[in-house]
């Protein structure tokens, strides 16, 4: 297979992986001659589906000995197979990078022959980039489930970010997606190995990815698992990827999840990471899912009329962050600006980026209310339940 055909096949095989070069904490590689990480992600293009092309996302090989039931690369599937050599892949990536088509590399692979051997080939690719090409830019390496201690350590030394995909929130859910992946040993064991080795490597972070909607998991299952990873495994970021059935796989008859579900999960995750929400405050319906028709922050505000309206000139930063239509940036600006002058008009708020249409039902501006919460469509407490700190499921 020629280079172009391999690129088409192995690029396509990696397209469902989600990654970003943003939040790249600087890490300097000695003797780097080319490449640099950018603190905020740089997008080099967008595909017609609106997803950013930032990293050169490719598999080293789409040959795989495993049989994950959703995966286009599973061993039992009759598809063309190919692999790059480490040398070939490193050279091809540098061609893209030199011309500024990509911000860095996202490298993953099917499990060819064995986990150990494939990990060696992945690491060899990175060694070539760091030592021969003297590449100092961004590399995200996907660690294979079951990778050993030494491999994880080396991967972290050569990368800016590593990841190991959870795919599903619990062992029970994972069993519905794969007969060969071992949740406790390969996934959780791998994540704790990564966490341990990351302590010695400042500037490197780790992330994970969930497939949403293939294992009958609820949003609460996914977000609870994410919280555990943030708090106990030092996870930097979780990605959520809506399940898309792949023809010729055992799960091809399952309907794909609506894309908006993925969006709501990100919104809830952001509430936890940037808005000071506790996971227990996220409102779910009785099935443990987020409302697809409503932003979870809006749902929270409607569920708690006793907390609103808030006077914009007095509310604390944390309180402001709970108002729909006010994001972390506008909240900080409000706090800063009102030290100079009180807010007197709605126009002032609009000009600094507050989405006033959404915020007005929940705020007072200089004591004046401009819109009523009762006018909010779909305000019905019975649709929601607040997750209990003591665990509703117990």
């Amino acid at each position: 297979m020629d280079k172009l055909a391999k690129l088409a096949l192995l690029g396509e095989s990696a397209k469902y992986d989600v990654c970003a070069s943003s939040s790249a904490t600087p890490k300097r590689f000695q003797n780097a001659e080319i490449g640099r990480t950018a603190p905020s992600g740089v997008c080099h293009s967008f595909t017609p589906d609106g997803r950013c092309v930032s990293l050169f996302k490719v598999l080293l090989s789409n040959q795989c000995e495993k049989d994950c039931l959703y995966c286009p690369n599973r061993s039992a599937r009759d598809v063309p197979r190919s692999s790059f050599t480490p040398e070939e892949l490193a050279g091809l990536f540098m061609e893209f990078y030199r011309r500024n088509y990509v911000e860095g590399l996202f490298l993953s692979s099917g499990v060819r022959h064995s986990t150990g051997r494939t990990m060696q080939e992945l690491l060899e690719t990175l060694e070539i980039l760091r030592t021969r090409h003297r590449f100092g830019g961004y590399i995200h390496l996907k660690i294979l489930p079951g990778a050993g201690e030494a491999e994880v350590e080396r991967a972290i030394a050569l990368s800016n970010r590593v990841s190991l995909n959870m795919e599903a929130p619990t062992a029970t859910h994972l069993a519905r997606l794969s007969r060969t992946k071992n949740f406790a040993a390969e996934i959780m064991g791998g994540l704790s190995r990564i966490h341990r080795h990351l302590r010695d490597q400042p500037g490197v972070s780790h992330s994970t990815q969930f497939i949403v909607g293939a294992a009958q998991e609820s949003d609460r299952d996914i977000l609870d698992s994410t919280l555990r990873l943030y708090s106990s495994y030092g996870l930097k970021r979780a990605y959520f990827s809506t399940f898309q059935p792949v023809p010729g796989t055992p799960l091809d008859s399952i309907a794909g999840s609506p894309l908006v579900r993925e969006h709501r999960l990100y919104q809830a995750d952001f509430l936890y990471r940037y808005y000071g929400f506790q996971m227990a405050e996220i409102p779910y319906n009785s099935a443990g899912n987020l409302d697809l028709d409503k932003d979870p922050k809006q749902a929270f505000a409607e569920l708690h009329p006793e907390r609103f309206p808030l006077e914009i000139n007095r509310a604390s930063l944390l309180e402001l962050l709970r108002v729909p239509g006010i994001g972390p940036r506008s909240a900080k600006k409000i706090v800063w600006l009102r030290r100079e002058n009180r807010f007197r008009s709605v126009e002032d708020l609009a000009r600094i980026g507050v989405v006033t249409k959404r915020a007005l039902p929940f705020i007072l501006v200089a004591g004046k209310k401009y819109s009523s919460m009762l006018g909010q469509a779909g305000l019905s407490r019975s649709n929601y339940s607040q997750s209990s700190l003591w665990g509703d499921d117990a």
């Binding site: 690129l7 080319i34 905020s40 997008c43 589906d49 609106g50 997803r51 061609e95 893209f96 002058n341």
Partner: protein
């Protein structure tokens, strides 16, 4: 009248001096134009130091101007620079208004764009910032036989030098060239130089580095058709760039389907 240069520091000094004297700040033009105002009172902002001016103004108004040396001052300076680079014609008027507002009311209002005037100042600064951020990703280089990296950027604002300096961090050992309508801007080891297009060899003006095929193959491989969302894609890559980028024709095809 107070004369100053079109630089953030000089313009800020002119505004401080204006608050002290009541004279209007103005950017120095050609000699001939300066002579037009020969009969008027003229001060030069750069004859004074920032420290001198802020001390005197603090004595006069009782205000606190320490923010000028701190983060808000640095942030405001970047915003002034970006406004100066914006292609809008009345940028000086907008900058003087925003700086005056900052000196009178504190910097937050101008930085956050709270008043109508400072909202324009902030928007224009963001337009330039966004162009830099977006084009850092969208500009693609061609490689010449000598290893130079050449690009033909599509710029709305005067950001070429700012972009080249950022690219130089990524490619520290390469000579980088932007081919612009008015000539070529070159950056090598952090030094910028300008040269006429007719002085450049054909290998630089039209490099034969054909990478489009590889890029298109890769770009197509990343597209998930089930998620097609042209509206979202064109929010990130506005249509004005579609004829300039190689993948623009794929976006167009998908938009027409």
């Amino acid at each position: 009248m107070i004369r100053c240069d079109a630089t953030p520091a000089s313009m800020l000094k002119a505004v401080l001096l204006s608050e002290l004297t009541g004279l209007l700040p103005e950017i120095s033009q050609a000699e001939a134009e300066a002579n037009l105002f020969a009969a008027c009172d003229q001060l030069s902002a750069d004859d004074y130091s920032l420290e001198q001016l802020t001390r005197q103004l603090a004595e006069k108004t009782g205000g606190d101007y320490r923010w000028i040396d701190q983060y808000p001052g640095r942030r405001l300076a970047v915003m002034v620079l970006f406004n100066l680079r914006n292609s809008a014609r009345d940028s000086k008027r907008v900058i003087f208004a925003a700086l005056t507002e900052a000196v009178r009311n504190g910097p937050a209002s101008s930085i956050c764009g709270r008043s109508r005037a400072s909202a324009v100042f902030r928007r224009r600064s963001r337009e330039v910032g966004n162009e830099i951020h977006r084009l850092l990703g969208l500009i693609r280089f061609q490689e010449t036989a000598d290893g130079d990296l050449v690009a033909k950027p599509q710029l709305v604002h005067q950001t070429a030098d700012l972009l080249l300096r950022k690219f130089q961090l990524r490619y520290p050992n390469r000579r980088l060239l932007f081919i612009l309508p008015q000539g070529a801007l070159c950056c090598q080891q952090g030094q910028l130089s300008f040269c006429a297009l007719q002085d450049l060899p054909a290998t630089v003006l039209n490099p034969t580095d054909d990478f489009a095929n590889l890029w298109e193959t890769y770009y197509r491989s990343q597209y998930i058709e089930a998620r097609k969302n042209i509206r979202l894609a064109s929010r990130f890559i506005p249509k004005k760039y579609w004829d300039w980028l190689p993948e623009g024709k794929i976006l167009k095809q998908e938009a027409d389907k």
